[in-house]
């Protein structure tokens, strides 16, 4: 392929065989003799002016114009040049793009991301629109546009991403390895998350995130959720169920800690409801107390295992250590506390069931008795006052 000629090599060839290599260079300068004029436009007013210096320093600077504009054979040429087909050289990228969600884009599919075709620089160049730190902005040109998102039935995710831990790493710290759009979605062959081949398809997500988060993925795969996911169970949570796809927060932040317990509760409804009855939940709901135990403080976030597994932090033998993380002095009796006790269930918690029943009966009987007592008294007092006495 012609792109494999380096500029250096062409210069050497040019110096040694000036006559033999003169024609293609002449062709480029021939074109630039007209198109090098600044401000040149076609009949519809569209710029057809080429900045020769920028073109020469671009990755395609060694190519002649007719390599891409294949229908231009000589001068004069037709007023409308045919659309350039990049797939002649970039066959793999083009086939990926052809199968992707962007296949039907009305604009030139390559240029929407790669920018001005005469100024394309390598993606390792910081000025490239597909340089890792520039990718979110490039994708955001469309995916940060609410009207476009609505038109295509997509979530307008650019803002969420930019406010996420990944977005901050890119925009604030310039971290090249931070996940940008293409890290998860791929670049040319982007598929819908409903396509089983997509890296964002539900069961592929742990592997996608695991490309960077290797250690977390190992823990996840060892836990009950990962094991079930590997067996193809679609109901178990994958990374994005807890962390979301784009609005990913720092997991130790107050915001994430305070909002995330209901996420586990989406599936573990009974455990969530009994958690809500406890002091741990009350602490969390009222805010200002970030340390309060959330699900994963006891159960682990990624390596979640049932209590019957000796490696689980909630296995009976490990409870003193687990509870002791917050409760200094936790002992064998203390850890018999049931963080998910259900006093409404006579079978599971008989003692608590009867204590609650007794307390409710006490409440009801005392209040009922005195309510009747007070109402009768009020009525009698009013009657007595009506009879003329001040006191009753």
């Amino acid at each position: 392929m012609k792109k494999h000629f380096s500029i250096g090599l062409s210069l050497v060839v040019f110096a040694l065989f000036p006559v033999w290599t003169a024609r293609p260079l002449h062709a480029q300068s021939d074109c630039l003799s007209c198109h090098g004029t600044p401000g040149m436009t076609d009949s519809s007013g569209k710029s057809i002016s080429i900045d020769a210096d920028k073109f020469h320093s671009s990755i395609h600077g060694s190519l002649t114009c007719t390599n891409c504009h294949t229908n231009v054979k000589g001068y004069p040429h037709a007023a409308n040049a045919a659309q350039v087909d990049c797939s002649t050289c970039h066959a793999d990228e083009a086939s990926g793009l052809g199968a992707s969600v962007h296949a039907k884009a009305s604009d030139h599919p390559c240029l929407s991301c790669h920018g001005d075709p005469h100024q394309i620089v390598p993606k390792t160049d910081a000025s490239s629109p597909v340089y890792p730190l520039n990718i979110p902005k490039t994708c955001g040109n469309c995916h940060g546009n609410p009207a476009l998102a609505k038109q295509h039935g997509l979530a307008n995710v650019y803002g969420s991403y930019m406010d996420s831990i990944h977005g901050f790493a890119v925009s604030k710290e310039g971290l090249l390895v931070a996940a940008n759009c293409t890290s998860c979605h791929g670049s040319h062959g982007i598929l819908s998350h409903k396509d089983p081949k997509s890296p964002t398809y539900r069961t592929n997500i742990p592997g996608t995130c695991g490309k960077c988060h290797v250690g977390i993925n190992q823990q996840y795969q060892a836990g009950i959720h990962g094991q079930l996911a590997a067996k193809g169970n679609p109901d178990v949570p994958v990374c994005t169920d807890c962390h979301t796809a784009h609005t990913i927060l720092e997991p130790t932040s107050a915001e994430f800690r305070m909002q995330s317990t209901p996420v586990c509760g989406n599936c573990h409804r009974d455990k969530f409801s009994t958690y809500r009855d406890t002091f741990h939940s009350q602490l969390g709901l009222l805010g200002g107390y970030v340390q309060t135990a959330r699900c994963w403080d006891c159960h682990q976030a990624h390596d979640v295992r049932p209590a019957s597994d000796p490696a689980s932090p909630i296995a009976p033998a490990n409870l003193i250590v687990t509870c002791g993380k917050c409760h200094t002095g936790a002992n064998a009796s203390f850890v018999q506390y049931q963080p998910h006790a259900n006093p409404r269930n006579r079978r599971l918690s008989p003692a608590l069931y009867y204590i609650r029943l007794f307390m409710n009966l006490l409440l009801a009987s005392v209040l009922t008795f005195f309510l009747i007592h007070t109402v009768l008294w009020l009525v009698r007092s009013h009657l007595a006052r009506g009879n003329g006495g001040k006191h009753a």
Binding site: Q282, L283, G287, F334, L352, M359, L371, W377, H382
Partner: protein
């Protein structure tokens, strides 16, 4: 509770009764001391700490409701709520212990009469049972109004409800506060039980005080809008005679009216009582509405 002690100012005391059998109508209203300054302070500490404990406790119990979350955020979140709750719990515990020590010191060591039994005691007796039934008969127009002694049966109930409430709520509260320590001698599930008992008993206290005690003591036609005696310590002879005729007659029969008589409550004290009392009632009724709405609406 005993008779008030001899710390009453006697300078403005009118002439004592010439004869207990024939009380002449005095030219102006006479005032008698019902509660000593110490008793009034005890009540003041009790109700101020109770209001804060009730408000912060309800925020925790109904932590899912919007008003609870808003209120908590206003004062600085859970940390602040729990701080105020524990702070007032400590003060109330201290007041409770001082009261218990006082009762035992007077009843057991000073051998003061009427602490544990008799007409002036807070301990319930057979007359209270009879009064309860007689009162109900009077409510229904089936009999005369019973004549009450120094403490009527519903006042004794108020006292013991608060007394045992403090023991139960206090113990369960401290068990949760110092859970690992209490777990040395309590089984783990007792910590679960502690929250149930603490929160139910607390709710009972809130509903009882704000719905029953307020009406019985302050809002019922006889004392509407408020009975100032717990703030001023004094009540007029007319009120005394009407409300607790047996105690009044006993005082006269024992010739002790001179030790009970006192000056009229000063204007500033009545105004102070109004401000403090109405504030407490207003806060209490607000909490009552919030508690009921959270309990029934969710």
């Amino acid at each position: 509770m005993p008779e008030p002690t001899a710390t009453i100012p006697v300078a403005s005391v009118p002439e004592p009764e010439p004869s207990p059998a024939l009380p002449p109508e005095p030219p102006r209203q006479r005032w008698f001391l019902r509660f000593t300054l110490a008793q009034r302070y005890l009540h003041a500490v009790l109700f101020t700490t109770f209001l804060v404990l009730a408000a912060t406790g309800m925020v925790m119990r109904f932590s899912g409701s919007i008003w609870a979350i808003r209120l908590a955020r206003q004062v600085g979140g859970f940390g602040a709520i729990l701080f105020f709750h524990k702070f007032c719990a400590l003060i109330l515990t201290l007041a409770f212990l001082i009261h218990v020590r006082d009762i035992f010191a007077r009843g057991l060591f000073k051998r003061e009469k009427g602490i544990f039994w008799g007409p002036t005691s807070m301990v319930a007796n057979w007359k209270d049972v009879k009064d309860l039934f007689a009162h109900f008969r009077w409510f229904l127009g089936m009999g005369p109004k019973p004549k009450f002694e120094r403490y009527a049966y519903w006042e004794k109930f108020d006292y013991w409800a608060v007394f045992w409430g403090m023991v139960v709520i206090g113990f369960s509260g401290y068990a949760m506060w110092f859970a690992p320590t209490f777990a040395r001698f309590l089984p783990g599930w007792a910590l679960n039980a502690a929250l149930i008992i603490h929160s139910e008993e607390g709710l009972l206290a809130i509903l009882f005080i704000f719905a029953i005690h307020f009406v019985n003591t302050h809002l019922r036609p006889d004392s509407f809008p408020m009975d100032y005696v717990i703030f001023t310590g004094r009540e007029s002879e007319e009120e005394f005679k009407h409300r607790r005729p047996l105690e009044y007659q006993r005082m006269l029969a024992e010739g002790r009216s001179a030790t009970r008589i006192t000056d009229a409550p000063p204007k500033w004290l009545i105004n102070f009582s109004r401000v403090v009392g109405f504030t407490a009632i207003l806060i209490g009724l607000t909490l009552l509405i919030l508690a009921l709405s959270a309990y029934f609406v969710g």
